[in-house]
Amino acid sequence: MAEITLEDIIKPENLVYTKTKLMTDKVLSYCPGCGHGTAHRITMEVIEELGLEEQTIGVAPVGCSVLAYEFMNIDMQQAAHGRAPAVATGIKRVWPKKIVFTYQGDGDLAAIGTNETIHACNRGENIVIIFINNGIYGMTGGQMAPTTLPGMKSSTSPFGRDVQTMGNPLKATELVAQLPGTYFVTRQSVHTPGNVRKTKKAIKKAFENQRDGKPGVSFVEIVSNCNSGWKMTPRDSNVWMEENMFPFYPLGDIKVDGQLL
């Protein structure tokens, strides 16, 4: 019996999954095991599925996802560190019918950009904010972030985060949920297929809210791993995330249709 070759398998009729055309062919710069790639993909899938690619403008932050525009095959602007919500405000105010989103990490959104985040959310800008929280500064080499857990080790808290001297981790998502200008606030993860599906649904809801002109920011936090920064294998990092990050940053919707749950 003849051996089955790759060419026998790679046929249109066998196609069960394909990459969205809104992701470029460039190889992702993220570490293997990191959640960014999945978060990018489902965001782009949502934009494609909703048919919004011709009217969407994304804003990339400073951090690991600073090069998001290399991977997302749509019009993009790269913002200064923390300023993405202000940049998005500028775009949305002059092009109110376009779809505008930011994609930000925890250092960007919850430390240097706290002011821009809170005020964009409080003004009720009609934008989507996707917030990747991995509790660490990944790109600069694993320093303590505003969301680093108490006792958690990082290169600038090598003996663990001492909240007495280093302050407490910030729950930015609970904070913005309290503001009248947010319409949808949720916290999700992308570490299991089930969670990926839930997160994609949440992102879809966020973009639908903006498309339908629902008043205010739709804010999706994705608690994610940073296996390199946490100095763990990808698998261990996901277990650690479930055991340590989720109790502090519980998953689920916080505000839906402008109502706190």
Binding site: E54, I57, Y69, M76, Q78
Partner: protein, 361 residues
């Protein structure tokens, strides 16, 4: 329709923004330029032309809103005063790096630090030598009247889009606050969305099918590409230096002594020229209109034509005077005179300085 009005400099700037067809203004209050956003909010350009006016949470947010809107092809501006302009420098560096067109105004007050709310010209270095990080330049226009506060908004936007560069209107507390008559230019319609899409193939307005996506960024991790990008920027600055120098010469034809000044100091020096002439001193005024590009070529040319000395008059401890010295390359005497920290010099003080530092010195 053009219209004659009595206005404050700050109000003229705001009215000119509406008339220039600006799409948006993002600002934050600070003395002595708060009238800009106050005028715009009261005038409701959102009803008149559809122009957006938004009070941001900080100067930092305002300049980043400018970045976003400019990156999406719109005609946008902001304004502030010295401490607020310092906060904007990060954003301006990004705007320069990403080659976005925008206009902003600095109604300068005395510094350093929180300084004072009185007029000053001590932000010359910041305006012309960088301000933010990296090798970049911006076009700097220095109005010396309320009329120019209005006209330079129109001209500034034109230059900003011609070169895709930030343009700064460097005013000061005198020009911003004083009232003069101003002949307001005819309104220019805002561009339609289709016109923006057609005119600005770099603007992020949503990727159309079959076209390449557009990216606004100042980043390239490949240093060789970043060097190339810098070469491109430098070539642009060179072209601007060759083509966009603006200045005005007043009573310079037979002059032996030249005041070099811009903004409100130029108005004061113009009076000092009259006082000098009344005393038989042949003085003239070289009024700078563009501070970058600096009119070095013309200044050097004048040097060899019987000029016995230049007095740089500026409300600072001596900043512009460095560019005058560089321009004349030692061929003539150059001195500085100015009050600073919020004090405005008088024409008499300026004339006295000429007599002591140049003529008698």
């Amino acid at each position: 329709m053009s219209e004659l009005k009595l206005m404050k400099g700050n109000e003229a700037l705001a009215e000119a923004a509406i008339r220039a067809g600006a799409d948006a203004y993002f600002g934050y209050p600070i003395t002595p330029q708060s009238e800009v956003i106050e005028y715009l909010m009261a005038e409701k350009p959102f009803d008149r032309t559809g122009m957006v006016v938004l009070q941001a949470e900080s100067e930092i947010a305002a300049i980043n809103m400018v970045y976003g809107a400019a990156g999406a092809g719109k005609k946008v501006m902001t304004s502030s005063s010295s401490p607020g302009i310092s906060l904007k420098q990060e954003g301006i560096s990004y705007i320069a790096g990403a080659e976005l067109p925008c206009l902003y105004a600095n109604v300068v007050r005395g510094g350093p630090g929180l300084g004072t709310i009185q007029p000053s010209q001590a932000d010359y270095f910041q305006s012309t030598k960088g301000g933010g990080h990296g090798d970049y330049r911006q076009i700097v226009l220095a109005p010396a009247s309320v009329q120019e506060m209005a006209d330079f908004v129109r001209d500034g936007f034109d230059l900003a889009f011609k070169y895709r560069i930030p343009v700064l209107i460097l005013s000061d507390g005198v020009i911003g606050q004083m009232m003069e008559k101003v002949d307001l230019f005819d309104p220019i319609p805002r561009l339609t969305d289709d016109e923006i899409n057609e005119k600005y193939p770099w603007a992020t307005t949503g990727k159309k099918s079959g076209t390449e996506r557009r990216i606004i960024t100042s980043l390239d991790l490949d240093s060789h590409k970043m060097e190339e990008h810098n070469h491109k920027l430098q070539a642009k600055y060179k072209e601007i230096t060759e083509k966009e120098v603006r200045y005005e010469l007043i009573d310079c034809d037979d002059a032996e002594y030249i005041f070099v000044a811009y903004g409100s100091s130029a108005r004061i020096a113009q009076k000092a020229v009259k006082l000098a002439r009344a005393k038989g001193i042949k003085a003239g005024l070289f009024r700078l209109i563009t501070l970058f590009p600096f009119p070095s070529v013309k200044m050097f040319e004048m040097c060899g034509k019987g000029i016995k000395g230049f007095l740089a008059v500026e409300m600072s401890a001596g900043q512009m005077v460095e560019d005058v010295r560089l321009a004349v390359k030692g061929c003539s005497k150059v001195e500085h005179y100015g009050r600073y920290g919020g004090i405005v010099h008088t024409p008499e003080e300026v004339l006295e300085a000429l007599e002591q530092k140049i003529i008698g010195g």
